[in-house]
Symmetry: C2
Subunit: 264 residues, 2 copies
């Protein structure tokens, strides 16, 4: 591929109303679409999360635990269908802003093995990028060669795609400013980490493991865990608050922005 | 695969109002969903056409001629998006009738070469069938290794899938009773052919070539042309009128029904 693509992740908590089942955050989708359009990145892959579209049904049917009995089958269909519905809103918004977006359905081209990507058919995707399209993927229900099916997180997908496509940069848009020393939602002393290396992350993880708290950073370390393989390959990764105007825009342009840069 | 699947094609002229752009035929979709549900085929793959969803935009942007200039790029995105919209209506109707339908997006897992299927990643699809899901595919805009992109017809897809999956039977639902000796819409002397072999088809094609008319059978020979490779492999193929109640049901059950059976 001539131009190295940028991989942009938009978290489910940004593009949906997490409190209300199957409710998109349309103003946020519209604003982010405009930021993507203005940034005009020459080669872009978009991956989005599920938020209130993916999680409620997936949890109700325990899809993440794999296939246990036939009562989950309809739950799989419904979860996948809900995700394609959310994707449609995003792709339509992009098309309305003249961005040649094309849905790429992970369940159609990925097979996992015990939850980790085993097969990813990326030839259609490479062809899309080569021609100037913007592929739009998402965290999805996928088939698993060991457990029957599974939930593939958008974060695992981002990392895998970034490595496969030899990405230039990963931009992760979430609903907090980046990685904090504690949970910014509950701990007022928590400080935003502007720059972190994999070595420093390891120390942070040890400290957190020691504290016996699931994740004092408010879930951000789990997200970063999935992104680490891409960072290890030398792909610069930046986490920004996508609920704040222009942060995603600036990150896509490579401009100085409030957030956490993770580097090798 | 333990159970040989049945591949059902539903033509675009059956499930959409061909005269009105982007207009589904919801009563037909509902009725056919019920027929599929009642037939309760143990392993089923569904492929549908585009009708008034796929064709108008695809033609406007000359997508079937391959990539010529960047003005077609948005047309590709819009055509694909329209097809996923139609698919969503069908999958939703199936889910509402308790059929575990899952959209499988050809553009995500197929690459053509000069219009013919070159790569088809069917491992997710095989896994779906193994687990009892009903994959739902469609004629789609796809990427092409020679021409950039192309339109993959539902009929080419049906034939290719039937061969790959070693199908038991192909049922093709169209808006006429089957293959006629002439065009039933304009020629009152046209007679329905109830049974035809590949050898007899060849003679029919020669006769038609001789007559210098594009396709006196009202387009049905072109459709059969795509299905022939599957018939050659010994897969029984039956064409029925899906606008008439119970024809698709009977064909799925293997019961006696008005239509054209094509056999090796």
């Amino acid at each position: 591929m001539s131009v190295k693509p940028t991989v942009l992740k938009l978290g489910g908590s940004v593009i949906t109303d997490k409190g209300k089942k199957l409710t998109p955050n349309l103003p946020a989708i519209e604003r982010l679409t405009k930021e993507i359009s203005r940034a005009n990145v020459s080669s872009l892959v978009l991956v989005h999360g599920g938020g209130s579209f993916g999680h409620p049904v997936a949890e109700q049917y325990s899809l993440a635990e794999g296939y246990k009995d036939s009562s989950q089958i309809m739950g799989f269909s419904m979860t996948h269908q809900a995700m394609t519905k959310l994707n449609k809103l995003i792709v339509e918004s992009l098309i309305n802003h003249n961005i040649p977006a094309v849905e790429v359905q992970p369940s159609s081209c990925v097979v996992t093995k015990a939850g980790r990507i085993q097969i990813i058919e990326d030839r259609p995707l490479r062809k899309m990028l080569e021609m100037g399209f913007v592929p739009v993927l998402y965290g999805d229900t996928v088939f698993d060669s060991e457990t029957g099916f599974d939930i593939l997180s958008g974060d695992q997908l981002v990392s895998s795609l970034a490595i496969n496509l030899n990405a230039h940069r990963i931009v992760v848009g979430v609903d907090v400013n980046g990685l904090y020393t504690g949970d910014p939602k509950t701990d007022s002393a928590a400080r935003l980490i502007r720059h972190v290396t994999l070595e420093e992350l390891k120390k942070l993880e040890h400290r957190i493991e020691g504290s016996k708290v699931t994740d004092v950073t408010g879930g951000m370390l789990g997200k970063i865990f999935e992104l680490k393989p891409a960072v290890e390959q030398g792909i610069q990764t930046i986490i920004v608050n996508a609920t704040e105007s222009n942060r995603v825009y600036k990150a896509l342009k490579g401009e100085e922005v409030v957030g956490t840069i993770i580097e090798r």
